[in-house]
Amino acid sequence: MNLIKPKKQPSPDATVFSGSAPLPEPLITGKQTFASITERISAIVEGKPPKGWMIAFSFSVSILLMLLGTIGYLADEGIGIWGLNNPVGWGWAIVNFVFWVGIGHAGTLISAVLHLFRQKWRTSINRFAEAMTLFAVICALVFPTIHVGRIWMLHYVFPIPNQMEMWPNFRSPLLWDVFAVSIYFAVSILFWFTGLIPDLATLRDRAKTRARKFIFGALALGWRGSNRHWQHYELAYLVLAGLATPLVLSVHSVVSTDFATSILPGWHTTIFPPYFVAGAIFSGFAMVMTLGIIAREVFGLKDFITLKHLDKMSKIMLVTGSMVGYSYATEFFIAWYGGNGYEMFAFINRAFGPYAWAYWTMISCNVIIPQLFWFKKIRSNVKILFVLSILVNVGMWFERFVIVVSSLSRDFLPSAWAYYSPTIFDIMTFIGTFGLFFTFFLLFLRFLPMVSMTEVKGVLPAADPHYKAPEEVKEND
């Protein structure tokens, strides 16, 4: 590097690029203009789907049908079709519930928290991350819904006036969970729809067929990009982000209280809320990365979801993955330091008991693998990132399995101990929710803009009213 640079003639326009700070790399590559962004993103939902879409969609729908079949059988037969028994009364269903709720958290973190922190790189990924949140929460809600056994009595969990004058027990964490997760779902849908309105108007204005004009015309609600509207819109969006931000922390904290308020060794710990939240964000970002890499390859969005985005997501996974690893260590430390025999046994049993295989799968995927994200070579290798992101979610599923099953299967009385294994219906229900998730997700990719056109346009340099086109600057230089 040449440290002593020849002094340049001060140009009249030097103030534009003055100072030593280098210009930030562009978020969106490929010399995009406002029109090219509209064209690029809208074309995906206007043209024919790529070859693989129909195949993937048919496959997802058939798995979804399997889920519906299993649920039908469960409604008829009862939850005895699952591998649940004493002492393990919570099995795969609760594991899957926590798994799916956790995945949802990254969408809200990206859309709400990063919005408040003015992280502009979120604009390319927030739309589909929010969609992922919604569909993940739907998948999550399936499990407690069917776990009640008598699905037709589900309305009992809500405070609805009834002829028996009964009300739900608001002191129970399970009821908090009903509220936390359903409110989370409602707020996520409102947030997502608010963000969609300007883009729906774009699709309306581009619509060629009568049906599209009608549908997008109705959904866009008469949006006309008026600045008098943008003012209220921006505030509404900001407030929704502000309201969704505490939900990122609260929802999974409430889920963790389902466990933490019980007296079961291995569950009864105060570290659960922050530890669950970190794990949720960790697994959610892994899912965003998996889906993002597929989307950028299949729909050719490499200019929008750039390597820079993947790099930033890897760093967040490194941070949250390390927090999760730290929590595992703290749990062990407290089990020893707390001096409670049952607690000590629960943790030794976790690592070396009958479920040791699950425990060490979890440790490898959640603690060791994310350490690879320290290396820039790995953070910029899309294929490796894809594999790692899937492994992280495998690990996070096992984390919930370890927590739920290892504690329950070894309770206070050794005579009650048992080994829990899932039945075919447990497995079919879990795989079925992937069918549900991907059916929704593929429909979303097909019919709604997966990248927020409005927001991406807003982060282009040309969107700044004080922007000068490069040609003009060069003339002065």
């Binding site: 406002f34 029109a35 509209t38 405070p159 004058e165 009964m166 009300w167 027990n169 608001f170 002191r171 129970s172 009821l175 908090w176 509220f179 936390a180 409110i183 409602a186 707020v187 409102l190 947030f191 729809f193 608010t194 300007p198 108007a201 774009t202 309306r204 204005d205 581009r206 609600l221 008469g222 949006w223 006309r224 990009g225 008026s226 600045n227 008098r228 509207h229 943008w230 003012q231 209220h232 819109y233 921006e234 505030l235 509404a236 407030v239 929704l240 309201l243 969704a244 505490p246 609260s250 056109m453 409005t454 346009k457 807003g458 040309a462 969107a463 700044d464 009213p465 004080h466 922007y467």
Partner: protein, 179 residues
């Protein structure tokens, strides 16, 4: 609905920068009933148009507060008066346990009022608007930057307003009928 009347003029500008400067000039010329239309929010345009701050925040705050009070009251009443039951030896009025649902209902009420309050202030949804008569206006959601001045404005004069808009840099000025 038989006679076509003039809704106003729609002027197009090339860049957000041009639009911002033009909006300042429209404001300084004393027009009140005018608007800017952009595919994304352009920063600084609120001041350039001389718009007051939005009151939406207060509305959301009020509804969020009502949500919290209502939520707490629901739990306190059902647990003490509606259906008092001793569960796990906890007192009927275990307010600490009610905080989570109270918080949740505050967020829920706030979120609904944010979206519907935004609709209220924006007079949305609406089925039609005279500006949609313009074919060119479709670019307002793509890459077009527009200023519309309504004929209802007291300073509006068909000939003068048109020359004024051209003078402040409009690429083209279109008359919009209100039908």
């Amino acid at each position: 609905m038989t006679k076509q009347t003039l809704y106003g003029f729609l002027a197009e500008f090339s860049t957000p920068g041009d639009l911002l400067q033009a909006a300042e000039k429209v404001r300084d010329a004393g027009y009140q009933k005018f608007d800017c239309h952009t595919p994304f929010p352009v920063h600084g345009l609120d001041d350039a148009m001389g718009m007051p701050r939005t009151k939406l925040g207060y509305v959301i705050g009020l509804f969020a507060l009502l949500g919290a009070i209502g939520g707490f009251w629901l739990q306190a009443w059902t647990s003490t008066v509606g259906y008092p039951m001793v569960i796990a030896g906890k007192p009927y009025f275990s307010w600490q346990a009610f905080i989570i649902v109270t918080f949740g209902l505050m967020v829920l009420a706030g979120a609904f009022s944010a979206l519907f309050g935004m609709f209220h202030f924006n007079r949305l949804p609406r089925l039609h608007h005279p500006l949609f008569n313009s074919e060119n206006f479709k670019r307002a959601t793509d890459d077009g930057f527009f200023i519309s001045i309504e004929a209802q404005d007291t300073r509006f004069n068909p000939a003068e307003t048109r020359t004024f808009l051209t003078k402040i840099g409009a690429k083209n000025v279109e008359a919009i009928s209100s039908e």
